[in-house]
């Protein structure tokens, strides 16, 4: 399918000057500039460099000049390459500032059920800002970006342009996921990941189909659940439909989602429409085979049996009185293990768990409580802490013990086996 681009076309950043540049007439000047950059890179210690290094330095020069031209600088000529290069550094610094701001916002708006790959990717982005050497290797992306996007960033983007665009798209995706029911997103994510949230599964691309289908069926969108009966209705609707009809149905459903979820801005709408449009061929193929479960999965009634659902994932919260009574009982407990046992037996919601951790577990006590939780619940707690932001601190300080029990770099947090 022809995919529309949701960003302005990138200028000549693919490593070679594009029209209207006259690359041939620039060649001698480029060589001279490359020679000067090599001398600067080696700090005049070495007159030669490996060909790969020279190639990367040249690529960086072309990338930077392309960026400068796209930012309004005059087209490159043999006499202005140095000036363009210096101009581009200003542009890159500006883009770096924007990317840092986007990263800050992305970290503060992680969906609670965000896959661990998203978290580790955002952590890696910090390393990008430390490692990024735009004066010599402006086109490089010196970090590992594991979390896939629903609509990937075009490969012709490099350096800070790539990171900025990645974060912009991630923000659009997370804004959508945050408007859905937390537990529904978690269930769907766990379903697609087969219980292992460390798998790099894109949340947006798994929630959008179910949200669209819920809208078509008139079911509550935020819960993302499609009953087997709903799947049959969808199958009946799509099996004899032409691709154009499916596209039209998805487009109108996307528009309805956009309105109902209170999304704002044309970019979010366009992103959603493209993501919905990308489903057309999957739906046609699945409808032909008579089974839409691969596109619009029904979540199992008893998730614990099928996958390791978290113990605390915002089920029904206790009323205030019961919570207060429990807190009092906990403060009377003589041992930590007794406290932990009480919590495991009585608390069934992430909100209540956080309340209890905030009130009843002091000094080293949170360690034992946290150790008794399954990996998914620890993950949800980490997401909760991240969402609260760096300035938030609980009274008991339990969140400071969390990294020790569930380290951020841990790719395989334990899962409950039952």
């Amino acid at each position: 399918m022809e995919q529309k681009e949701i960003l302005p076309q990138k200028p000549a950043l693919s490593g070679r000057p594009a029209a209207p540049w006259d690359a041939e007439s620039l060649r001698p000047a480029l060589w001279e500039l490359l020679g000067r950059r090599v001398r600067r890179y080696t700090m005049a210690d070495s007159s030669s460099v490996p060909a790969e290094t020279a190639g990367e330095l040249l690529e960086s020069i072309l990338y930077s000049i392309g960026l400068a031209v796209s930012a309004g600088a005059p087209p490159p000529e043999p006499g202005n390459l140095d000036a363009l290069l210096e101009f581009s550094w200003g542009v890159i610094e500006e883009r770096l500032g924007e990317a840092k701001e986007l990263l800050k916002r992305a970290k503060a708006s992680l969906p609670p059920a965000s896959a661990m790959a998203q978290e580790s990717t955002l952590e890696e982005m910090d390393a990008f800002f430390q490692r990024y050497d735009y004066r010599f290797f402006a086109h490089q992306i010196p970090c590992s970006v594991d979390y896939p996007l629903c609509l990937p960033v075009p490969e012709n983007l490099g350096g800070v342009e790539y990171i900025r665009e990645y974060l912009r798209r991630l923000a659009l995706e997370n804004a959508f996921c945050l408007r859905l029911e937390e537990y529904a997103v978690t269930r769907l994510a766990l379903f697609h990941c087969r219980g292992d949230l460390s798998m790099p599964v894109n949340l947006y691309s798994i929630t959008v189909p179910n949200a669209l289908a819920c809208n078509i069926l008139g079911e509550p969108i935020r819960f993302l659940d499609i009953s087997p009966a709903g799947q049959i209705l969808l199958l009946n609707q799509f099996k004899s439909a032409s691709p154009e009809e499916v596209r039209e149905e998805l487009n109108s459903s996307a528009l309805a989602l956009y309105r109902e979820l209170g999304l704002s801005g044309p970019e979010e709408r366009e992103y959603l429409e493209i993501a919905a449009g990308n489903l057309v061929h999957r739906i046609i193929a699945a409808a032909k085979s008579g089974d839409l479960a691969g596109v619009f999965p029904s979540l199992p009634d008893k998730p614990d049996v099928v996958f390791s659902a978290p113990m605390f994932a915002d089920n029904e919260t206790m009323d205030d009185g019961t919570l207060r009574d429990l807190a009092e009982t906990l403060s009377d407990c003589s041992s930590v293990s007794e406290k932990v046992d009480l919590v495991l037996r009585n608390v069934h919601s992430l909100r209540d768990l956080v309340e209890i951790l905030n009130l009843c577990f002091w000094e080293d006590e949170p360690d034992e409580m946290l150790r008794s939780l399954d990996g998914d619940t620890l993950f949800l707690l980490r997401a909760y802490v991240l969402k609260k932001g760096p300035d938030w601190h609980s009274e008991t300080g339990w969140e400071t013990r969390l990294p020790k029990i569930a380290p951020p770099q841990s790719r395989n947090m334990p899962h409950r086996k039952d």
Binding site: W31, V38, R39, S47, S48, V49, P50
Partner: protein, 153 residues
């Protein structure tokens, strides 16, 4: 870096290096060493093949002048073996720049080569490239501390 770009680089550097080597004769003649035009052409050509063989790109006039200036007072070099020695030294130089992962600056590597060539190697190029330079590069890669001759403390 494609072949066209490499050729462009080569042609712009040949003239410069030829001229520099010619001017070097004025200094080396004091030690009874000089290079004819044919020898200079040969050395310059070998520079580019050495760079190609080692996968390196060089800007400016190259390393030959520095080698000639550094080695011209060696007791182990005479007019008869001057060109061949420079050829070998040039090949070794680029090879060991790679082997040391570019961690040794040009001047330090040349100075080390000269010290070993006149000292422990007693003018043997095989000894120089087969033992002392290998040791130096290995120790540099592993970050070991060495004495002035590249040996471990």
């Amino acid at each position: 870096m494609d072949d066209t770009e490499m050729l462009s680089l080569i042609s712009s550097q040949t003239a410069l290096e030829t001229e520099e080597l010619r001017s070097c004769n004025a200094l080396t003649l004091r030690y009874g060493l000089s290079l004819s035009d044919a020898q200079i052409r040969n050395l310059v050509q070998r520079r580019f093949s050495a760079l190609r063989d080692t996968g390196r790109v060089e800007f400016g006039s190259g390393i030959l002048k520095k080698l000639a200036v550094e080695f011209c007072d060696s007791p182990y070099i005479s007019q008869e073996n001057y060109e061949d020695t420079l050829l070998e030294l040039q090949d070794s130089f680029y090879y060991f720049k790679n082997e040391s992962q570019d961690q040794i600056p040009d001047d330090e590597l040349i100075s080390f080569m000269k010290r070993c060539f006149d000292g422990v190697c007693q003018g043997s190029l095989d000894y120089l490239s087969g033992t002392t330079l290998e040791d130096l590069c290995r120790n540099t890669r592993y970050g070991y501390k060495t004495d002035g001759d590249g040996r471990l403390f």
